[in-house]
Every structure is written in structure tokens, then in C-alpha cells.
Symmetry: D2
Subunit: 350 residues, 4 copies
Amino acid sequence: MSGNTFGTIFRLTTYGESHGPALGGVVDGCPPGVPVSEEILQRDLDRRRPGAGGLTGTARKEPDAVRLLSGVFEGETTGTPIGFVIENTDQRSRDYEAAKTLLRPGHADGTYLAKYGRRDYRGGGRASARETAARVAGGAVAGALLARAGIRVVAYTVELGGIPALPVDVAGAADRPFCAPDPDVIPLWEARAREAMATGDSLGGIVEVVATGVPAGLGEPVFDKLDARLAYALMGVGAVKGVEIGNGFAAARLLGSQNNDPIVHPPVSNNAGGILGGIASGQPVVARAAVKPIPSIAVPQRTMDIDGEPAEIVVGGRHDRSAIPRVVPVLRAMVLLVLADLWLAQKTVA
Amino acid sequence: MSGNTFGTIFRLTTYGESHGPALGGVVDGCPPGVPVSEEILQRDLDRRRPGAGGLTGTARKEPDAVRLLSGVFEGETTGTPIGFVIENTDQRSRDYEAAKTLLRPGHADGTYLAKYGRRDYRGGGRASARETAARVAGGAVAGALLARAGIRVVAYTVELGGIPALPVDVAGAADRPFCAPDPDVIPLWEARAREAMATGDSLGGIVEVVATGVPAGLGEPVFDKLDARLAYALMGVGAVKGVEIGNGFAAARLLGSQNNDPIVHPPVSNNAGGILGGIASGQPVVARAAVKPIPSIAVPQRTMDIDGEPAEIVVGGRHDRSAIPRVVPVLRAMVLLVLADLWLAQKTVA
Amino acid sequence: MSGNTFGTIFRLTTYGESHGPALGGVVDGCPPGVPVSEEILQRDLDRRRPGAGGLTGTARKEPDAVRLLSGVFEGETTGTPIGFVIENTDQRSRDYEAAKTLLRPGHADGTYLAKYGRRDYRGGGRASARETAARVAGGAVAGALLARAGIRVVAYTVELGGIPALPVDVAGAADRPFCAPDPDVIPLWEARAREAMATGDSLGGIVEVVATGVPAGLGEPVFDKLDARLAYALMGVGAVKGVEIGNGFAAARLLGSQNNDPIVHPPVSNNAGGILGGIASGQPVVARAAVKPIPSIAVPQRTMDIDGEPAEIVVGGRHDRSAIPRVVPVLRAMVLLVLADLWLAQKTVA
Amino acid sequence: MSGNTFGTIFRLTTYGESHGPALGGVVDGCPPGVPVSEEILQRDLDRRRPGAGGLTGTARKEPDAVRLLSGVFEGETTGTPIGFVIENTDQRSRDYEAAKTLLRPGHADGTYLAKYGRRDYRGGGRASARETAARVAGGAVAGALLARAGIRVVAYTVELGGIPALPVDVAGAADRPFCAPDPDVIPLWEARAREAMATGDSLGGIVEVVATGVPAGLGEPVFDKLDARLAYALMGVGAVKGVEIGNGFAAARLLGSQNNDPIVHPPVSNNAGGILGGIASGQPVVARAAVKPIPSIAVPQRTMDIDGEPAEIVVGGRHDRSAIPRVVPVLRAMVLLVLADLWLAQKTVA
């Protein structure tokens, strides 16, 4: 319930604050014999590091070095829980006095205070995007499991600051600035990003995640539909405000005869995004997440302090100008976690 | 895991196929002392009955009469599980021969077969929208619990067949055709619906659900964010293909300075939809669900039979022409179930 | 949490009070293709009926007729939840005035009141042993699943009122008075029972449950050990006050060299009761439950009323004189439920 | 399911092998404001260290130094997950060749192999009693939470090698050899232990755990009864083969009139062990666990290697001669974890 465990059979439990000693997690339920190593986790972690793509400027430069603590023996999982930890090396004494008393608009400062009556105000504490490092590490284990089953997941940016991109080369997106699926969009996005940075403002965007090789039949009925689990997974990432599957919101404006996919081999359309009745159809599973502009902006905003007194705030520091591209591997990790869980669940049915 | 239980503390477990003997559910975890009766459940169930709004034409006319089996004594809950059942009175012998062998496009026929290797093909079986009756009954219990805490949920249609409506009078929406929040949109939607029906086609739309009185602090961190749980709940309803919170997908195109809500009393905007960092801010919680056009259409479609042979299908019968308005009370019920669960969870924190 | 759902993958959720309209349950997670019918459930239910063995005298004579509501199609499970209901036919107006105000020693009257602040006082409400009917029905489904895997569970009485019995013929126990594993012990137990009945008193005993065909490897590590799950399952039956595995409490008095089972084929001992490190060894799994004497006795006892005033109570009526033999099929059902859940769980490991 | 998470609201997830880099855990669901520190965890951990009581002789001398990684800020919990880690400092290269191929009788070597098809054979891997260190650390957090509510748990040895002890001074037991509740029994137990050690053999015993201050009403109905959860918790500790509550197995031999506790103030007996109908009565909660003799003995035993070939084994090394007293704080920790979970659960009812 308390929200730090994801999944039922393949489970990830995470812990850690932005400026505490460390963050990490435990993957439980991974079958034995899956090749897992610190290198495999690190590779995915490096993709969400500061500076991994364009449009970044955060001062934090930790390498986010992951250390495996258990569950792997002679290079393969043993079936026992896989503990891992990422030390917070950048815990230098900053001036957190403002953070202690002022609530940042668009952040969880006030809501955490309302929930818990207290909070670790240093760098956002548990509500920091830094928390997602543990998700990416857990997702890497899920990815190693799914790779054995031929299931692969790619994620890329399909829109930034209102400028769309075409999925020209999704395989190469992870290595491009902004996780762009089309090299040609990069200069346009760079211009848009510079524009926003010039005024201290921030940008949002849309990320698409596609899973291929998902066998027909994956997903559970009624409440645990594959799309329901994906929506839960993606919306649980801090900056996400919307999730859609296949045609998504556009489907609401189509006729049934336009939106239905004919059942033919080979398929001629995938409006359903690879899911019918909550269960995978065998076509690629396609989800999109709407990412809001990062709330940390160098523009003066009206707010209040923790005593309710009106105040003005300018969130300084060299923050990212968009959750994109760092959120892209996080969203990919979440889809991997969902699929690993449901893939194991399906074994109990067949 | 197997998908028929919703919630952790306030839990709804459901069962039942479209044409089996009965469907029903068990609500577990409801505190004692909540006024619950068959009348309260029936009132909500009646709102999802055929003919409850415009744009319907299903032949099924069961009253969906609910019977309470346990957990209520002298008009109030006792703290023990609340069992309820809705008999399927319309089990007359139909000709299901076509349903037995032909896969309907846009339906779960093929995916259930892939998952389970068999299926109750009569009327969609467990994948039938009829399953949602149990959700509405469970949601009514959640509603009775939340009403004591001053939390109320309304749901209404904000778009049908591409034609939007303004939230002129949301309180009256439940009693209007299409659950329209504006009387003036009704003739436009009726025209649009007639147009679709004339060609045997179907319509989609967008439903908005708003919860008021949600106390700041509700929601769990990280994976179980309030918005994540809402997305899971709403996307788990059959026809839903997208979910958004507050500004939703529109937020992806705004600047941070446009999307952030200033923290002032009284609030001047609610772009966040009442949720920051996954936790309720105290403002109304606003979610929207994209509902696809119903896949049962009287238009010839290409499909295949269960042996993979190509075929053509015309889904006959007097089916609904849109999931709207019958899905509206279902989406409202799902939000009630989420809030009841998280409201009880918050008691373990404070 | 609220205690009415058992299991993680193979799950049973139950509801119902002693004198409410009905009791029942939902089995979720049963794979498709398992032969299940009302007859299969009824057969196990009949074994826990009043008068099914010796030593009984309860006035309640319901047939406990079970009705399947969903999840079974053409004689086999479909993979969707299996709802079932047992109507309470014996709801005639009794005089519950005493039950309303007086707390019965050894019963849950006072503790339910402390927990919920109210209670359905008619016949024990949810705390009545009648609740176990739903467990037996759920266990019958588990049994049908396990039978396909060659796993069988027998249960029998190994001690009654302090008089032990030898496991001479455990296969026939279910059809004998007291579920006696030895015909020769029956007259001794009958004499002991008559003796207790003559003074209005009641007896306890010990029940042994043995599962054969459990494959080596079943069970989960650390917290969810097979023996931990069995202890949880058996101790959760109302009258049970102790659970042991293999040598159990006797092991505490042995030397390691006496208690260790040599690892040889064929095995020469089973002191471990078929479980090592919480995981099945392949030998028969052996558990025993200590059943307390039924607290409803016709002997005057000191108690208090719900206002805390001292009182004397004689629990009248024609109650059972021991939970044995009616508890025997319930304990067997609980073991079946544990094994079904862990058997499916093991599929996610291999 | 995979067995490494305990609890529903107050949850402990653990990881770690005997000879991997580290072991540790995550406590999730602990409310904010509970005083927690490394010192508090360390104090309980020190009680299960080698040499903490009599009858030990293990060569392993790690200090089991615990490090807090998250969830605590300025000396109190914040409501976010509490990560902790205990490094394995004694990872020196031993000769594990025998362990690699020979199955030790009474150990989980063979069953882990059957379950996972592989195992970390170094020192027992995950099946090592060393795993329980994480339970003790988690239990210490539970203890800090419960202390605020006036709930306290003591544990002590009531029998060793067949020699019983009287609960003369349970408060001082934790500081005595063997966790003895009576100073006078210590020489008797020492003699018994020397006797067993002289032949390379090992001893079992019985541990009693008593919780005081448990408010009436704690515990959940039906499957999650307080006694069921205690049985699950205690039987899940490696060496435990039996669990009983109150009179336990002795109750099976009493008459109802002997076993029922009269309901009077002040109470005159506690045969029920503080639990009626699975719910706390307000009297002390009393549980006992039967601990088998440690299977590692220096006596030659028949076994087989992993290829099924017969062999003889003498488990050398300076192992403990009994799980007692090191298991005592572990059993206490498990009861603390159960009570913390149910104590929070009760907040959702009232």
C-alpha cells in the first residue's frame, strides 16, 4: 500500500531520498538463470544520467554507480532477491534554508508535508526525480529476463515543446540527443530548448514506448488489464500527466469502423496498440506518456511558506530544462517491469 | 494477480460472466458503521442500465437487481465482507454459433482465447461490459464510506463523437441523456448519434470525473501515486484507451511558467488536477478518460475464425451505439474505489 | 489485510455470516481446464455437515447446498473467477436476546465488539464456524487442480479427548465416525464423547493432514516457507491453538543426530515432515493441528454482559460436542489452498 | 509471493546471502515521527550475534554493523521507506568444494536445488540463518513504533534439550545465557549443552514470546487472525517446527470447562493466550515456538551428493550447538513485525 513496491510476482521495492546516504532497491521474484551483472544495470542507469542527452544542465554529476548486493551468483540470478544500492556521493552541504520553508509550485513540497506532517526537504527528498534511478536498475533486471523471451522495449520522444517527431529510426533514439527518433528533428528541438532556457522556463513533451515480441495472451482480466498496468506504471512517474494506448485520445473521435483493426494476417493496422480487452494481441504494444514541463523554473512565481504566508520564489540552480530525455529510460523501465510481472503471471495460467 | 480484486485496504473482488448464472462481488475492508443497503447499491446500478441515457438500443433489459448477502446488519456495515450478487435473468437460449467460431474485431475474443486456450463465448463472457455492474455496486459502498468524509465524485461526458461539451451544470449531468453536463449539447449529440446509427456505426467520447473534498495528503508515494492509481482504475475499464489528469496531454505543450499553479489562497488555477507528486493537494481531483467507439458495429468487417480462416462479420443485434453514457457511472465507481482505498490508507500514516 | 482473502496466485475470498442471507466465496487464479462442478464442491461440503461423523448434535440441518455462479463453462474452469454461494436456509427467528448482551467465554463475542464496536450477534455472525463452509468449497476447487498434478491430501483425527489413534487406515478415515484412522479407536472415542456430553462439556483433539505427491521444490523462501504457509492456514481455523510439522514439538527434545533425516533412497525417516528450509523435499508433507474443546458448553460459566456487569451463562442449544470431526475437512481444505497457491507459484520459477 | 516481503501495511522486504556482499532490507509503511536510529537497530542486532549467549561456538565474528540508508531524517522516520544494509565482512575464501557437491542432512541444500535448479552453496546462501539479521533490524523498527503505543514484546527460552525453565524473571532473560528466564536453570542447561557438544551433537528447545499492552480488537478475521499471523511469522523462522498459542497442544486434552477462560475482571486465567476468534482480547498474547536441534553436527551422517551418489558427511567447523539463544531475538522480531502490521491495520477499522 505504502507505494514503494511495484508488481506482484516480479516485484521491485525501492527506497532512498535525494540527499540521504543512498538509494536502492530489491528485485524479488526474478527466476533463476537470468544473466545479470552490475554492468547490465549500469548501462541502463547511464542513460538517465545528467548530460546523457540534450537539454540538460543539472549540476549533479554523480556517476550513479550501482552495486549488486545479493541474488546473483556466478553471473546469473539464483531466484533469491536481488538487492542493489546506489550511493549518493553528492551530499555536500548546500544551502537548504529556502527549501526548508518555501513551497515550490508544481512540486510535492506541500503535499508531502500535508501527508506526513514532515519531510526531508533536501533536494525534494523522496519526491525527487532521483528516486527513479532505482526504477531503472530494477527495469534492467526485468529487461534481462524478457530478452530471453524475445520481448524488447524501446522508448523515444515523439514531441518536445509542441514540436512532433516522426519515428524514422527508433532503434537509434537512445543514443541521440533528446532520445529523438529522427535526426532531423534535433535542431528544431534544440532551438525550442534554447528559447525556453533563455527565459528560465521549461518544456514538456510526449514519450512513446513500444514493446515488441509480447506474446498474445499476456495481461490479466478486468482490473489488471495490460493497459491498466501500463497506465499505472507510466502515470506513477513524477512528471507524467497523461497516458494513452494505441490511438488513445484520438480514438474518442473516430467511428467504430475506423478504429477497429481488421483481424487479418499480416495485420494492416494497430489502432488498439496491441491490446484487446486488456490482453495482448500479439501486435506491438504501444503506449504514450504526456510529460509536463519541469516545475523548477527560474521565473518568479507566487507561492507561500510553510506557515501559509505569501511569498515569491525563483527556483535557481542549474536544473534540467525538461524531464526529457532523462525520463525516457525511466518510462522504458516501467514498461519492462510491467511486462516481466505479467509474463511470469501468464505461466500460472497455461 | 489474476486481476479480479481491486484495492489493498478497501478491496473489491468481482466475478461473473455475461451469460452465466450470476455476477457479483465482495467488498472487504469497509469499516463498520457505514450506512449500506440494497437501495443504495441499486440506485447506482440503475444509472448504468440500458436505456438510462440516450444513444442506447441494447436488447438486454435485466433490471440488474442486486442482493446483499453479508456484511450489513441493521442497516450498517459490520466490518466484515459485503457479498452481493446480481442474477443474470436474461439467459435465454440465443444462437451463439457465430460467436463460437468468429472473432469480432475490436473485441477480446481472440486475446482471451490466446490467454486461456478456451472461452465462454456467450455474449463476451467475462470480457463483456456487463462485468462492470459489479464495479458499480462496489463503488456504491465506497461512495457511502466517502460521503461520511465529505468526499464526493461526479462524472459526466465532455465530448461525444468529436463534439465537446462545457461543464455548465455537472451536478445535473447524471440525470440527463448522455450524462451531458450542458443541456444545450444534447441535440448536437443526438444528431451525431443518429448519424452513426444510420450507418450501423458507433461513437467514442471523453468522460471527466471530478472528486471534491479530497483532503490534502491523500495518495501514496512513488508507485502508488493517486494519479497512478486513478490511471490504473480508469484504464482498466474496457473501452478506455487514454487517461489524463488536470491539463493532461495539453501540459506537454505548455511552458513550466504556464503549467505551474501558483500556490495562493484561494487558488487561481488547477492545472495539476489536484495532484502534486502523486499526492492530493486539496483542490478538486480531475481525471479524464478517452472512450473508444464501441467495436460492435453493423458494418461488414474483415476477420477470421478460430481456425485462422479469413471471414467477414457483421455484428448484429441491438447493441449500444456508444459506451457512453453507460460507462460514466462505471468510471465514477472506479474513482470512488481508488479514493476509498487511499482514504483508509492515509489513516495508517497519521 | 482485512483477512477474507487467502492466497496470492490461487486466491479464495469469502464472505458471509452465520445467520445472514448467504455465505460464499470467489476463487480467483485457478487455471483453465480444471474439471469443476457443483457436485465436486458439494461432495467436500457434505463431509463437514452436521451429523457427518460422530459426536455431533447441532440442531442446524441445512444441506449447505452450493451453487456455482461463474468461471465454469461446459464442465471446466475458464480461468476467470469462480463465484459460489451457499444460502442460509435456517434463518428462522430465534431468541437472540441473550446473545445480544451476554459474552460467551471462549468465543469471539467480546473481541469482535472490541474490534468493530458492533457485531452481528446472531449465532456468532462472521466468527461462526459456519464460515468454514466457504473454505471447504474453495478447497474443493484447489483439490481438483492439484489432483491433475498428482497431489492428494488426506486428513484424519489422531487424538480425541486425550485418547490417541494410530494411522492404521488413513484412506478410509473420511468415511468413519470422528474421521478415525483406526476403526478400533471408535468405541473408545465414543465412550469419551458420551462422558463429556453427560456433563454438558466438550472435547478437543489433534488432527493430522498429510499431502502426498508434493514435488520437491514447492514452497517459497524466507517468510513464505511451505511450513509457514501451512501454519498460517491451519492456525487460521477457529478452534486451532497449535500447529506442528513433522516431529514438531517433539523435535525440540531430540538431538540433531536423532532428528536429522539421512538423505538416502528410499528414505528411512521423515522427521522433517517433508519440508527442509521451508521447501518441499519430495517426501509426504505432514502437519498436525491442535483443536481446542468447543467453547459452547452447557456448564455454568462466569462471564459479563456487554456493559461489563458480571453474569453467569449456560450456553444451551444442541451444539456440537467437539469441533472434531467437522473441522477435519476444513483443515484439509486449508492445506489444499496452500498447495494450490504454491504449486502455481512454482511455475513462475522454473 | 516470492517470500521475501513480510506484512501488508507495515512491510519488511529482505535480501542477502550468507556469503554475498551484503544483506539488508527495506521497511515500508512505517508512519512518520518514530524515533529510529542505527543505534536502535544495532542494539537488537547485537542480541543475535555469535557469543551473545551460551552454547555457541561459531567462528563467524562479524559485528553485523547496520547502516541506515533512507527514511530517517533528523532522528525520526519520515514515512518513506527505511533502507538498511549489513555488509558481510567475513567473505574470506573458504573451501566450499564439499558444500558444492554434498547435501547436508536437515539443511535446505537439496530443496533449494530442486526449487531453483542452482544455488549459492557458500555457507547456505539465502537459506543460512544469517538471513535473520535483516528480520531483527526490521523488527527493531516495528518495536520503536509499537513502543509508542505501549506494546512490548519479550522472548525467552522455556526449554532446552528437554529441560524446562520457569518464567521467574522474563525481563532479565535477554541478558542471560540461553535467554534463560530463570538464573537457576543455567547450570543445568550448560551441562546439557556440554554433553551434546562432547559428541558433536546439537540441541533443540522451546521459546516463548509474550506481548503485553496489545489492545483488545487487534487482529483480522477469518484468514488473517492474529494467531494465524503469529504462526506464519514464527514457523517462517528456519529452525521452528511447531507453534502454539496459549494452552496450545495441551488444550486438545482439556475439557471445554477447563480450557475456557471465565470473563471476569481481573482475569483469573489466560488459557487462550490473549486471543479469541483470532482477535486480541486485551490479555497478554502468548506464543511458543518449537526449535529443532541444529542440523549441522559433527556426527557422521548418511547423505548423497548432487548427482545422487551415496556419501557420508561430517559437518565440521565451529558451528552453533543450538539455534538457541540466537533465534530468540529473531522470534521476538517476528512477533513485533506482526503486531506493527496489525496495529496499523486496526486504524483503518476504527
